[in-house]
Each structure stands twice: as C-alpha cells, then as structure tokens.
C-alpha cells in the first residue's frame, strides 16, 4: 500500500494501481471514453486527465495510465481539472457533433450541446476494439493506421485484417459509438464487411457462433471442433 492525498484527503492505495482505479474505488467521478477495466489503458480520450503534484508543481496527467506513487498528491475535481475536461470534451464534440456517445459526454461536462439527438456513429479512435481484439480475443485483426513523415494517409483510422478476424463480434460489443456494426442475415454474420458462415447449435438448431471462431477456439484449446458445436444455452 502507498499513502496518497486525493482531493485533500489522506488515503491508502494499492501499489501499482492507476490513479483512475484508485479514484473509482473511492467513488470519485472521472469520465472516460477509451477506458475499460479489463483492457490495458490507452490514454487516448484525455477526459480522465487529473492534476498531480510533482516536484512541488501541479501537472496534468491522464489518470488511466499513471500509477499512484507514495506521497502523491492528486486533484480530480479542481477548477483547472474541470475546465480542462470541458475543453477536451469541446474538441471531441467539435469533431463528432452527431455522435451520441460524444454528445452525452460533452453535455455532462458542461459543453453547450444542440438539443437534437445525434444520428452519426463516428469512430472516435478510442482503441477499445483494437485492444479487445488483441488482449481478450487474442487475434489482433485490428490495428491503428497511424501517420508520420513517410506515410500518406489523409485521416487516421482503424485497419482491418480479414485473414486474422474470426468474426467473434467483441469489437462491435465494446465500441462506444456504434461505429463497429455487426449484422446477422440468415446463416451469415457480417462484420467489417467480411461475411462469416454461422454454425448451427447441435441441440437447439439456432445459429450461435461463426465457424471461424469455433475453429479458432478448437485450434487454441485443443478441443475438437465437433465438441464445440453446442450453444451455451444447451450445454
């Protein structure tokens, strides 16, 4: 355990935990768009930024990927933090004014938001899908297409590798804006424009999982494919 001061209160925190984890445990509200407790922190949305006192000077840090240190002084709701959070939300809203998840967040943080509901489902590059695919599913079919001096890309985006994708749909599940969609048509599932053949449950006959996903599970666990063709309800 380490000793910290958070919003003026002396507290004990688990060593190695991030400021965000500690704050949420203490029921302090810190907004996030790119954070998920089961995934590695990414520091993309910048909404979780708090103030930390280092070398006697207050500094802004993203709370999701900054671990607490012994003696650390943290402010999660100072005027500067709230102003800064609003500024970040304003920028997100400027770029994605029609995306509901962004609209709601901006409104919550004090940005003047138009009253009509958002109709768009923009990708806000939060990286939740990329991390889920790599860290939870383990296939890494999604990756950022970043930019630099030698690269020519008008807008950054998420790249999709159809050969690696198993069609599990985790990315669509975790996407906060509805940008990643998953469609079911008869015995097919369509995700990232790739069409997957679904497998029928051997007991109830419902289509429950893409063949590629079951093959992947079979390959990585050693369980024969035939033993995987029963859905979770019938197992």
């Amino acid at each position: 355990m380490v000793n910290i001061v958070i919003n003026g209160r002396k507290e004990k925190a688990k060593e190695g935990a991030t400021i965000l984890e500690v704050a949420r445990e203490k029921k302090l509200d810190i907004p996030t768009l790119c954070y998920h407790k089961d995934l590695s922190p990414f520091g993309a949305c910048r909404l979780c930024t708090v103030e930390v006192k280092t070398n006697g000077k207050w500094q802004m840090v993203p709370s999701c990927n900054t671990p607490v240190e012994n003696g650390m002084e943290i402010a999660t709701d100072s005027e500067k933090v709230l102003e800064n959070r609003k500024a970040v939300a304003e920028m997100l809203y400027y770029r994605y004014p029609e995306t509901e998840a962004v609209r709601e967040m901006a409104e919550r943080l004090g940005v003047d938001v138009f009253s009509e509901k958002g109709e768009e489902h923009d990708c806000i590059l939060c990286g939740l899908c990329v991390r889920t695919c790599k860290e939870i599913v383990g296939v890494s079919a999604l990756a950022f297409e970043d930019r630099g001096p030698e690269r020519d890309l008008e807008e950054p985006r998420i790249g999709f590798d159809p050969n690696a994708c198993i069609g599990c749909g985790s990315c669509a599940f975790v996407c906060p804006t509805g940008f990643v969609t998953m469609e079911a048509v008869d015995d097919k599932r369509i995700i990232w424009n790739k069409v997957f053949q679904m497998t029928e449950c051997a007991v109830c006959g419902k289509y429950f999982a893409p063949e590629d996903q079951l093959k992947y599970i079979s390959r990585t666990t050693g369980v024969p494919f035939a033993k995987l063709t029963t859905c979770s309800n019938c197992r």
Partner: protein, 642 residues
C-alpha cells in the same frame, strides 16, 4: 545574425522590427533551423518558435502552411492534437473567407494551450506553440486578414520533419515512425519503413552503435528506448513469418551502374539505384558478399545467415552480385563501353594498420593483423587454438578478435592497450562481454619490438605507459615510463590498431584525388569523386566508420548518381545543426519505466562456439518497449526567401 527581424525560438523573444526594438532584442537568438545549399528563408516556423528573417515575410500564410504540414504528422490517437489543428485551420479558413472576428485570435491561443496541456505525445505537446507566437507577435497582420486587408495565400514553402533520434541517425531513419508501427502490431509495415533508409535491418539491428539511443529524450529520465533491438524485432519477425520480396520498380530507367564492393555502402547504393529503376552490377573480390559485415564481424554478434538473407532479398530485385571478381584497375572508359554510365566505388578499409614497432616488417608466423584474422575466420579458415594469444589495441576489432579467440579455444586471451579503460574506443557492452568471458586486459602497456626467430614469432618487448596531457583526439596521451621495458610471451599476436583503405588505381587520365590519409576525396553534396562519373562512399571515404554510416553513404550516393544521370541539381533542405532538438516548451508527465530486456546466451555455450550472444525481443516485448516512445517529431516549415 545580421538580418534577424524576429525570433521566438525556444520561447526566447528577440524583436528587431522597426519601432519594436527593445533593450532585450539586441541579444542573439537561440540557434534555429536554417535552409542549406544556397537556399534562403524569409521566415521559419517550427515546433519551438517563429523566426522571421525578411521584413516582407507573410506570417499568417506561413502559419496556415505550418498547420497543414503538422496535420500530416498528427496521428489522431489522442482527442486533442488533430482536432485542435483542424479547429485552428477552420478558424483561419473563416478568416480568409472574410468570416473571421478579432476575438478568434484569443480563441486560437486557448486552443494552443488546451492541446499542449492534453496531448499524449511530445509532438502534440510542442507543435502548436509557434502558432500562438505568431498570433501574439504578428497580431496586426492577423487583424488585417480579419478585416480583409490582407490575404492568406500560398507562397513557396519547404518542409522538414525530424526528431532527436532521427537527427542523430547517420541514415536519418524515421525512428518514431517504425516504433509506432511496432506498437500497433504492424511489424511488416515497420520493416518497410526501416528499409527505405536501411536495407540491412537485421544486420544493423544487431550491430549498430545506435547514436539514436544517446539522443533519445527518455535517456535522462528512465533510459532510452531500445531502438536498435526494436529494429531487430521488425527484421526477425518478418524472417520468422514469411519474407515478402522487396519492392521492385514498375518502370525501368535507361542506364546501368557498376558498384565496386559489396559492403553496406555498396549494397545500399545498389538497392536504391535498382529501386529507382537502374540496372546494377556489384563486383566483389571476396567469395562472400557483405564487406565488413561479412568478414569483419564475428558470428556471435552477427550470424552469417542473417546477412545472407538480407543480401539475397537485394539480389532478388535484380541487382547482380559478381563474387570473386576483383577489379584491379578502374578504367571508367572501359566501364562505359560495357554500358555502365556511372560507377560507385565502395571498397571499404580492409588493410590493417602497422603498429610502427621494430621487427614488424619481418614476416613471421604467429603475427597477424586483426582484420585479416577476422576475415580468415569468417571465410571458414580453420584456426587451431594455441595456449596464449595477445591482442594489441582497444577498439571494437580488438574485442572482436579477443572474444573470437575465446570461442576458438585459446586458453589465455589478453588484450594490451596503451591507455586506460576510460579511453578505450570499443563499446562498453563489448568490453564487459569480453571480460565476462575471461578475456584479460592489460592497460597502459605498449609494444616496442616484435622478436622472431627463424620466421617464427617468439615474444613481444613491451613498455609501461602513463597518461599525460590530452592530445588532439581529446584522450590523454600515453607516454612511456622509462625503465619499465619488459617481455611478454605469447604463441600468437594479433595487432588490431585500426584499418586503412586500399584504393584501386584509376586508368583515366585524370586520376582519383585522395586525401592525405589515403581516403578518397568526394564532393559531399553529390558524392562524386574527382573523376567524372565515379562516385564513392563508405569507409574508403571516411576511414573506418560504422555500418550505418556506410549505409547512409550508399543511400546518398544513389541519390547523387540518379541526379547525375538525370542531369538534375541537388535540392535544398533545412539544417538542424546546433539546434537543441530535445528542447520543447511544455512537456507531459512521463511515468518512469525502464526498457524491456532481452535474454543473453548462457556463459557455458559462449566459450564453446560462435552462437549468437544477444537475444531479441519477443513479439509482446517489442510492442511493450515501443509504447515507451514519446514520439518527439519536430516539424519546421519555411517560406522561401529572396
């Protein structure tokens, strides 16, 4: 600086404009990037400030151009940087369209502050400050735009992108770029980017002296990124998966180029010329391609199959490599007759220097020079171990010889060095590696005489040294201690005190100009020698240097040769000499975390064979290490001057 109008470089304001001159403005400006090769700048806007050199410079237009350029580097991964740049561009567009307000100028400064405070990487934290400087110090010009009295229009601009690590790299690899690809699990893209400037990534990833790591901003914080090992990870990943062929040109150009020497310089030039569409033949004297990478570096540091694989890929693009083909005399006319319009001379520096002691001239069994010893070893010659070997010298070749002797089974391996450990030019990790393996180092000892009996080496007469005042190299000069002469016995002596180039003779009327130390003279801009059509680079121009410097020379020569064959002059660029690339006005909070580590071969296996000593990153380890990169891209845009 005679013509400086204004500078806010590194936050230090110097203002010499008419009616604006203040006391402080007499001070000299902090060094800022300047155009080279005869080009002039009216104004320069870069990550750390605005510099105006000509009174007529158009600051508002330059600001918009700068924003357009940094927009290309902004990766979009954090919420503020790219969106902030877009907001600023939109504001300027409205202004230009006559829909701006003077209050927008305050909004611009707020956006700059918000982005700097929240951006994830060093690029985002630093890139927008000059925009704020421009609005603050050239406010009247921006107000004129708002009022419609001034236009925002394109002038002639130049752009340069660098980073502290890129600038430190002789071959200017896009280091943050290829690291970012690895972080994003795109190893093949990373390798593609590396190969644009470094055609031997697996070789360089193992052997580079990595000046980039000394320049890394994290160095003083928690240790630099392991940039060399990340490059190796990209190369190893591809070799393990499946090697894709190197990009081959779509349209071929007329013209053929001859390359003499298949070392890193020759190979880099050959591949880059091939990529530009030329036909290329590489002539190599030895039975193995690769130059010093093949015959100068032992297998435990660089396994031969890595080099062969990378040379094979170059060969697959259509570059012809003729082994066992020495060129005695270079006759450019003869080459022209055979269809070669240009020649690149890259013969390296393969002759061992003399120690300059008595008895050295008498040929004797048991005395060899280091480069020759390593060459024989690498070309497969059987070297029977004896009891005691002495290696003279303190450089990397000396260490390579010593560690090779340990592996060959010599019982007693000792290095003699005339200065102390602090002055040893070899890489510290190599010296430590040698010591771990049982190599002894006798400091402050120099040879005086080689004693041989009937053509066989017998012993070395030596003398103790002490350190005097620093010499021209900055290292303390060793001075002999009178009366300390002594005899050192050994079965074999390897002298490794430097190498020189042996330049082939040219047959043309105009002979090749060489420097006093025997290296070839070239025009640094074009890499052309004193003979029209003959270019040169690598160790034979610089004297013994690093592999990456040789690759850089090959890259530059390919550019020079291409320009020469197309009859085009060299373009301008921006020089960052003297500019502190690490400096930026706002820095983020960086969580301290040391570099990822790699496994090393266990000691028992090191002394019995030439297996590779240093391991590479795992896939996940490389991605973790890549996350530490602070992405310190620096962009500078200049309005061309009169």
């Amino acid at each position: 600086m005679d013509k400086l109008e204004f500078s806010s470089w590194n936050g230090k304001v110097v203002d010499n404009r008419k009616g604006k001159a203040k006391k402080a403005s007499r001070a000299a400006a902090v060094p800022f990037p300047v155009p080279v090769r005869g080009e002039k700048a009216a104004a320069v806007m870069g990550w750390n400030g605005l510099v105006v050199l000509e009174p007529g410079a158009d600051v508002p237009s330059l600001t918009v151009q700068y924003l357009t350029e940094i927009r290309k580097i902004s990766c979009g991964e954090c919420s503020v940087c790219m969106i902030g740049i877009d907001m600023l561009l939109d504001i300027f567009k409205d202004m230009a369209d006559g829909e701006g307000f003077e209050s927008d100028l305050a909004e611009i400064e707020k956006i700059v502050r918000d982005v700097a405070a929240n951006a994830k990487c060093n690029f985002g934290q630093s890139a927008l400050f000059p925009v704020s400087d421009a609005v603050k110090h050239y406010r009247a010009d921006f107000v004129a735009v708002v009022k419609g009295d001034r236009k925002i229009d394109g002038k002639a601009y130049g752009t340069a992108v660098t980073a502290p690590c890129i600038e430190a790299c002789p071959a200017s690899l896009d280091i943050p770029g290829y690291i970012e690809y690895i972080r994003n699990n795109r190893f093949s893209d990373s390798l593609g980017l590396i190969r644009k400037n470094c055609i031997l990534p697996g070789v360089i990833g193992r052997t580079c002296t990595h000046p980039c790591e000394s320049a890394c901003v994290r160095k003083d914080l928690d240790g630099p990124l392991s940039i060399r090992l990340l490059k190796r990870a990209a190369a190893d990943f591809e070799r393990k998966e499946k090697s894709a062929p190197l990009p081959v040109p779509s349209g071929a150009k007329d013209g053929k180029v001859a390359v003499i020497g298949s070392g890193p310089a020759g190979l880099a030039a050959a591949y880059n010329l091939r990529r530009k569409g030329y036909g290329v033949t590489v002539f190599e004297t030895l039975p193995e391609a690769g130059g010093m990478a093949a015959v100068g570096i032992p297998d435990y540091r660089l396994p031969l199959d890595i080099l062969r694989h990378e040379i094979g890929l170059i060969g697959d693009t259509g570059v012809e490599i003729a082994l066992n083909t020495g060129i005695g005399k270079i006759d450019m006319d003869d080459f022209r007759k055979k269809g070669y319009q240009a020649l690149f001379l890259a013969v390296g520096a393969h002759a061992g220097n003399r120690m300059g002691v008595k008895g050295e001239e008498t040929k004797c069994d048991g005395l060899v020079d280091g480069v020759e010893f390593l060459r024989d070893l690498n070309l497969g010659k059987k070297i029977a171990p004896k009891k005691k070997v002495l290696i003279i010298g303190g450089g990397n070749v000396a260490i390579d010889c010593a560690r090779s002797c340990v592996r060959l089974g010599f019982k007693d391996v000792e290095i003699l060095y005339r200065r102390s450990r602090a002055e040893m030019p070899a890489r510290l990790e190599e010296i430590e590696g040698a010591e771990e393996e049982g190599v002894k180092i006798r400091y402050l000892t120099a040879p005086l005489e080689v004693v041989s009996k009937s053509g066989k080496f017998s012993c070395l007469n030596c003398i103790r040294m002490k350190l005097g005042k620093p010499d021209e190299s900055g290292r303390k000069r060793p001075e002999p201690v009178k009366g300390s002469e002594h005899v050192v016995e050994a079965d074999l002596v390897i002298s490794a005190i430097g190498q020189s180039a042996v330049i082939p003779v040219t047959a043309s009327k105009k002979s090749l100009s060489v420097n006093r130390n025997g290296t070839v003279k070239v025009d640094p801009k074009t890499m052309m020698t004193s003979v029209e059509g003959i270019f040169s680079g690598g160790d034979c121009v610089t004297g013994p240097a690093t592999l990456i410097e040789a690759i850089a020379a090959g890259n530059r020569a390919a550019e020079g040769i291409d320009r020469y064959l197309r009859g085009e002059a060299a373009g301008g660029g921006l020089s960052f000499e003297g500019v502190d690339l690490k400096a930026q006005r706002a820095g983020g909070y960086v969580v301290k975390e040391g570099a990822e580590t790699v496994p090393f071969l266990e000691m028992a296996k090191r002394t019995t064979g030439f297996g590779e000593v240093e391991g590479g990153f795992s896939h996940a380890g490389a991605m973790e290490e890549a996350k530490r990169c602070l992405r310190c891209y620096r962009v500078a845009v200049w309005e061309k001057g009169k």
